[in-house]
Symmetry: C2
Subunit: 200 residues, 2 copies
Amino acid sequence: MARTGRRPGPSTTRAALLEAARRRFAAGGYGGTSMRAIAADAGVDPAVALHFFGSKDGLFRAAVGWPFDPAPVAARLAEVDPADLGPTMARLFLGFWDDPSTGASLSALLRSAMTHEASAALLRAFVGQQLFGRISHLVGGPAAALRVDLAAAQLIGVAVLRHVLRVEPIASASTEELVGWLAPALTTYLGSRDSPEATP
Amino acid sequence: MARTGRRPGPSTTRAALLEAARRRFAAGGYGGTSMRAIAADAGVDPAVALHFFGSKDGLFRAAVGWPFDPAPVAARLAEVDPADLGPTMARLFLGFWDDPSTGASLSALLRSAMTHEASAALLRAFVGQQLFGRISHLVGGPAAALRVDLAAAQLIGVAVLRHVLRVEPIASASTEELVGWLAPALTTYLGSRDSPEATP
């Protein structure tokens, strides 16, 4: 077919940006990659990339298939009473995993990160900056980052057993029953400021 | 090379038993597979299979690469004071994952189960019967199985973040620091008999 000389359509531009983003993010990580470099690779102005994806964060999410915007999640957590941080985190997290429209993507991303180091590195940087870092800031105190990791480990472990390995009875338990059990455990991490003593 | 007519050596017999075991366990699951059937597939007497692997459990562990015998672990947990069940589970679990000679196999098994449903089904049946079931029996009460799932989810989540995704600071934290934080959280599941109320 003869070339028509027309400018590439929006779907071609979007696909070129996503392809450039995947290559750039894989090579440079989340923090080390700029919208400007991705746009240059795709042969478009950075304003075009912004128009399509809103932000570097939005472009990253589209490129890797991350299914929700972490900013409003972090904003919601910042609003709650510190004592309710655990149950609110549990309810939001289980909501995303229990909803098939977001859960399937999260499951695919987790599997990919667990089997490909490049995917793991990308997600580590993105989730670390956009979620864990923001929640650590809310929790505060010297061990805040470790305590957020432990709370996240609890929730990720629930997702693994409930949605990926489908172990019973946790796979069939109701969201509210799980939140009821998870809340006090998460509060042991997120609600206190001092490191407990190791018991023998 | 001409066939010598000698009987197959021990390594051939062992390999034949492992191959038959993988096929049988994959088709029939852990509970639905007998040593007798595996031995018949491998063309040997069941006593030979017992001689090599000690038990169906031992043959299963060899076939899938499971790196430790769960029986002494369950026996150790049965000995401790109920209040120490959480920290003892945490210390045993982290010990297996932190030790490279067992941790690498556990990591490989978890990745395999998360990406292949047949592996997931096998591990579900084995771990459910040999570990979760025994610990549920120690915990007791109506929601014991769910509470053990939640405690296991906490520990598996720690393994995922610490050893598979290598998220900091949990990847570099000391075992004792982690046990200190995990113990009270695990005790919220394993130390109480009543379901807590869900908090809003």
